[in-house]
Symmetry: D2
Subunit: 339 residues, 4 copies
């Protein structure tokens, strides 16, 4: 029973088929001039109900770092939650791509940034030449604790970002899971709520290695293109990442995959309700069952990550798009048996 | 008839099959802890007849830049040919990954660096605190003009690099084509000749998006790993690039694919012998047939890049691993008809 | 009455005289090859009772950033107090010079890092490829709240740094004030306590623009020299910064200047004892007299900075080496009159 | 007889006096808020006959690197002469401050860039995402071979820069010597000729450590201010560099100093006419008298640098603002005696 991470999962059959299909033509133009890459802007513009520019990259780290480097100068401060992926799991990629920008960390329950906390962080910046320049706000949707921001919550942050001259970035490594959980349109939690740039994840939800930087502000397109090239993320055989992303959003595949994962996670959450350490909104379930129970789960062969501070006896269970029902049922039984 | 570049070509069936096969298991450890990634070091150590460390990345630009950043400090000078890919086609990726290293350009026929030219470049460095520190030599094998360095030529450069404290890097975007053309072992033109680090290309020769940084010097492994992570090139689903590279070197596939491309290119070269502007050692053919003939080829529907200085009426024809015989025969006819 | 900062003060007459004297010879070798620059290593080696290498720079920001860039790789984490100058007042200079290192912030009373807090910060690092690599510890001596670390306290941190593979840096912008307050030898709170590199400040304590990076570990000398050059801090007319530093440490001038400032500050501290928000160990006095009293001081013409969080009604009073007794006495009267 | 470099010279008495005078007030606001720093913009605006923004830094390397980093993105190409100081003598400072911009080198007689050579360099840029983006042109005035660009020559380059979207920077480490040699107004060879930003040198011509970045385009002021701060070049005691620069331009001191140096150099040039390897326009004299004569000069106790390629038997003689007449006359005798 592997609940380590959705990044352990295989590729969805629809996406694998698309990779096989796109390999048909013996040759195709390189560096995004192929027929598939050229469809991306249009396809994503339809999805987001406005003109957007799309840039494929091979990882979420690349998407976040390139997006934020386009939003913050080397002397900029990027405001984000203390548990944000860009802070905890990317080995300083934002600092690297931006040329030395600083992450300013915000605390908050359930890995969420609240307007009050954002306001306090903004107020604590020196505001002069000696302090980094407030440049961007980055939130994760869904968050690193599986929670989501409602459209209203995003819009409140977006308004505050705009009022303070901050670019607004969303790390959407699990964007599909959030959209499904919220039952909203992608536009509702992005540009309509003031978001300027989105890391649109696909890899964790069934793709192989394909993430899209979605720019709602066309002015940053040139710098994104340059940074992607210099980072080695402008792939010559562009048809393959393009095919993944096109298949991913075709006929709502992305939402079906996320829906299944969310539903199964909800079942786990229900079975572990008394131990939940964060609301199980999406495909991640956080529990604090105590050391003995964690040992019991491991002894039963369940794979998962410890979470939170060392010694907090917290576990993260992630349900993948292709998690077997059998796994989930067995895990429910185990969770119910904890004492 | 597309002779634009081998990066326009589709994926070889053996590699596509490997991608399909590796997708079998529902889950696999992420970030290189999967069974396939773990085989890479051993497999490549066998190929190179000594212990090596292998790091997969998604593009040749990433491979070159990460490799050279591990070899040159921010104040280092990387010596390379004026026509090197790192100078002309990577938008400053080496400068980006290294934190500002400088490429010092060397002229030479057929895009090759000679010992004499290398010596002159070394001698012209100021050698004090005001000059960049001589840090690395980078050559391309095969070169940007399709030529190759013999084992002896590599070894002569390697000895000079060592004597001057330079790390020695090879951009092997078309390494397979060089190995086939030389009829040598991979070791003969790498570590046995003083090479410290190799960008081992697979994408242009039949893979989808998979290049390997091969480190012959284990001391640079830690910095390569860190730079890859920060660059967004440590993919979570590592089994897919690993599967490509394993299939690529399995049973000599890489050499068969390159062999076919080289052979077809040799046929083109023979048909265009009077126009050759560089020896057609590998799968690239450079010709200077004059403006009228270039126009004639274009009018006949041949796709290719102009090369060299503007107005030089030079063309580059690249033969891909899957180029059709029909294409090559038709092109031979066209070339023979030029006047 | 200007208690804004010791960086507002003029140059000490001894140092100004040295600048006039060193201007005597019509010419002198550039870039540190002059007679005065050449004495620095020897002079500071005597001061620190061991062989050291000294690098002059024009500002404390440059000293800190170059020192830490020599101690932390681009993917490194530098552990420091949340109120550290490198975090709050240098606009990301460490991030810039290091190529993107990350400051990991530690809380603690009186702007001091305790071994327990350091230990917790070390423990919370992920310790894998996804987390920044723990690289350096930086403390300020005296601290940003005017407090000092005893030799034992420094040594405890030094031992922990060494045990965890951290380089140990001290920001000594007010190092003289600390040495005087502690009554110790410079060696006692540096290399004897495990410190690898020191930003030795002179500007705030009577120099014009001269700080010294003092390297106790000779291995970092080459990288410091390169980073200083690239940062534009290797001055051609090196005799002038050298003359400042030589005069500064001649016959204990630096300690006399700091002693006077500390003594006057102690008087202020005694007068404001009921309001002190940090122990007045050196030449800075922090008070929390409430909003009304702060307004009263300002109305009386006292210049100073608000400190701490917005709304905390805290004030910082800094006594300079040349602060007039009259200022101090007048201020004592004002402080005594607060209600 | 020291003809090594004008950066070996002492400080002019007027400037030393200004440093002594400005030290009068016991305290002054820090970081450029003092009375002297505040006069800089106005004083230089008068000098240049238009509104300019002035930023003091401690070295010419800092001035050039910060200026060019404000003009070129990390993926930009800075076009400059192969012998430019930024290429040969600054250890990659432009690359460092810009985050990896590339210097594209242009050949030309007398260390000058011609419109034709500039045009060729522009044309040879790939002009696509794979090539660096043409961003800036940088020339030296006077050049590294002591020659000057006439106002018309600057204007021709300025027009070409503008037509190609290039920012236009002048490295004026010896700007005074050029102005004097040309007999023009500072405006004639800067903004009136299309220059956007100037490194205005004072150190080599009599100051201690003071250079001014002069921005004719107000849009770059914010980024210059930030880069200066992060580079450690925003000095706290701003009155001292400001006082140097104010004294330097007061009553034409800068022109008098340069005039004297140029005149003495002209005498040397006349005595060495048969050996001149570049026109002696300013205070540098380049001669190619052959190996034996170079040895003879050295044997006579003359200090100077070899110049040009190794083995070219070329010497550079630099006359400083305070060079003694006796030195010059003795040197004239020596030069006349060469055979």
């Amino acid at each position: 029973m592997n609940f380590r991470s959705d990044n352990n999962a295989a590729i969805a059959p629809e996406i694998l088929r698309a990779l096989n299909d796109v390999n048909g033509p013996a040759s195709a133009r390189a560096y995004g001039e192929d027929d598939w890459s050229r469809k991306l802007d249009e396809r994503f513009s339809a999805l987001f109900e406005r003109d957007v520019r799309v840039f494929t990259v091979a990882s979420g780290t690349a998407a976040n770092a390139i997006a934020l480097a386009s939003a913050a100068p080397p002397w900029g401060a990027v405001l984000c939650h203390r548990e944000a992926h860009i802070e905890r799991d990317e080995c300083g990629a934002v600092e690297f791509y931006s040329g030395g920008a600083k992450l300013t960390l915000i605390d908050g329950a359930d890995a969420k940034v609240t307007p009050a906390a954002l306001n306090a962080a903004i107020a604590s910046n020196g505001g002069d030449i000696h302090s980094p320049q407030l440049a961007a706000l980055s939130i994760s949707q869904a968050t690193e604790r599986g929670t989501v921001y409602t459209p209203e919550e995003v819009a409140a942050l977006g308004a505050m970002a705009q009022a303070n001259g901050l670019a607004f970035h969303v790390d959407g490594a699990r964007f599909a899971n959030a959209v499904v959980a919220l039952g909203c349109a992608p536009a509702d939690i992005t540009w309509k709520a003031g978001v300027d740039i989105l890391s649109f994840g696909a890899t964790k939800n069934g793709a192989m290695a394909a993430e899209a930087i979605v720019a709602f502000n066309p002015k940053v397109a040139e710098t994104i293109a340059r940074r992607r090239k210099r980072g080695g993320h402008l792939l010559c055989k562009g048809r393959y990442p393009a095919a993944q992303l096109l298949a991913y959003v075709e006929d709502g595949l992305w939402l079906r995959l996320a829906s299944r994962a969310n539903d199964l996670a909800r079942r786990l959450g229900a079975a572990a309700e008394r131990y939940l350490s964060a609301p199980a909104h999406t495909n991640q379930v956080f529990i604090k069952p105590g050391d003995a129970n964690i040992a019991k789960l491991r002894a039963a062969g369940v794979e998962f990550y410890d979470w939170g501070k060392k010694g907090s006896a917290e576990a993260r269970l992630v349900v993948s798009w292709n998690q077997s029902e059998a796994d989930v049922e067995a895990m429910r039984g185990l969770l119910a048996s904890l004492r």
